[in-house]
Amino acid sequence: MLGAVSGLAAITAMECGWVVTEVGRQPWVVYKLLTTTAAATTNGGVIASLTFVIVLYAVLGAATIGILRILARRWRRGGPEPEVPYGPPPALQEQSVRGVE
């Protein structure tokens, strides 16, 4: 249980650290050299592109969670192991499993 929470806590800590550096630096984007206002784009459509990014990543995030759930379900059901990307060829895998035993 603690192990499961620590995964989440690691991500929370990382994100919090990022927020602290980004917010703490304001109003500078490059400390004492360039303000955020001066660095911002002069283009319109900032809200539109932000919305676009949020929607895109919400869809991708949902898909990632969905696929992780599919993988977990497949793993729980047992059956043949799906291939591991970039893993060693099957013969080597069997050897190492035997080695562990």
């Binding site: 784009t41 991708l60 898909a63 291939e83 893993g87």
Partner: protein
């Protein structure tokens, strides 16, 4: 001049991205055109097995391109990013979606979901190079003003820009098909070899025609660039044409040996032809050149040094990746082994000089040892400070 050296570095990494990453996009094109589930099964499988282990590595060059452009020539970078914001956004969306579609497709089991994700991968593989091409077209036709303050639709929707976008898609498809011919030949798969040979020939003709069309369009849209392309850059333009004709001839004769290198060299010649023709101007139609586009000399020196360091770090890693691929040591779901279409590319760049698969191990071992030693030295220095 140091800014010329950095310009060369920028063009070299653009070339690497084109010949390595471009072929990944082209894989998406052939995935899209492979037909129904059953008919397209074999070609799709070869494409997937060829791309899987290398596509993320190949897209490192895009990061490289952008960081060098941004750090070394910030004024030109800002002008391009502002003027061509929309196509750059669309290209970015294409890159993100194609990666997600490609990675997710392998994990889902339902045919319907696989189709949707496969289509996402394939369509966005076309979007990304097309919109990148329109941006290059906008730059080449002098549509990017030096003091750009807002995005412009007309900058990247001229005939030249749209044709350049199509040329990028065609060139990506051409590279991918040629690499896949080589890969199928190496596996001894005659059916797929013939399949991709036909496509490589068709894509070669289309890409060649589009190149000529862009050149013809430049005659009216940027005459200065046109006259330099047919002037001092003419040898490279001719080299590009000869490479293309040689690839077509070798494919027609059924001798796929060396076609991958020739195809990559042809594309590289086009890119360098453009660079030579435009030199030293960064944004045609303005007075923004390599030497006045921004960064102070100290930054440029740092970039050159960093580039050398990056070569020392990235070179051996790429060597290891490609040689493992060449020796079929990376995974596959059956005995055939996932070998790669994006094989060691002994292209114009020394960066990816790969040892040949059979004689790889000593070279790779040396490279790995060298990498570890450099890494240890760097760490020791950091600690000493």
């Amino acid at each position: 001049m140091i800014s010329d050296a950095v310009g060369g570095i920028l063009l070299a990494s653009v070339t690497l991205y084109a010949v390595l990453g471009g072929a990944d996009f082209g894989g998406g094109l052939w995935d899209l055109l492979a037909g129904g589930d059953r008919r397209g099964r074999e070609p799709r499988r070869l494409i997937e097995e060829s791309i899987t282990p290398v596509w993320e590595a190949n897209h490192v060059w895009l990061v490289f391109d952008l960081v060098i452009f941004w750090t070394a020539f910030p004024h030109a970078f800002a002008a391009v990013m502002t003027t061509a914001a929309l196509p750059l956004w669309l290209a970015l969306a294409g890159i993100v979606l194609r990666g997600a579609g490609f990675a997710f497709r392998k994990e889902v089991s339902g045919l319907g979901a696989q189709r949707v994700l496969g289509a996402t991968f394939a369509f966005s593989s076309l979007l990304a190079p097309f919109f990148m091409g329109t941006v290059i077209g906008a730059i080449a036709t002098g549509q990017v003003p030096a003091d750009a303050s807002h995005a412009s639709l007309s900058a990247w929707t001229s005939a030249t820009s749209l044709l350049t976008g199509l040329l990028f898609v065609g060139a990506c498809g051409y590279l991918a098909a040629v690499y896949l011919v080589g890969e199928a030949a190496r596996r001894g798969d005659h059916r797929l070899r013939a399949y991709f040979t036909r496509r490589a020939q068709a894509a070669g003709i289309v890409a060649g025609a589009l190149s000529l069309a862009v050149l013809a369009e430049l005659h009216s849209s940027n005459h200065a660039l046109f006259s330099r392309l047919t002037g001092r850059a003419l040898p490279l333009v001719i080299l590009a044409g000869l490479c293309g004709l040689a690839v077509l001839a070798l494919l027609t004769a059924g001798r796929p040996r060396g076609v991958r290198v020739l195809a990559a060299a042809g594309v590289a010649a086009v890119i360098w032809g453009w660079g030579v023709a435009q030199y030293p101007v960064l944004l045609p139609g303005t007075n923004v050149t390599l030497s006045n586009a921004g960064a102070p000399p100290a930054t440029l020196v740092a970039i050159v040094v960093l580039f050398v360091v990056a070569l020392v770090i990235v070179g051996p890693s790429f060597g290891l990746l490609f040689s493992l691929q060449g020796r079929r040591l990376l995974y596959s779901d059956d005995d055939s082994g996932a070998a790669l279409a994006l094989q060691p590319l002994p292209s114009a760049e020394p960066l990816v000089q790969q040892p040949r698969p059979t004689e790889a191990s000593p070279a790779v071992r040396t490279a790995v040892v060298a990498f570890v030693v450099v890494d240890a030295l760097l760490r020791a220095r950091r600690r000493a400070r």
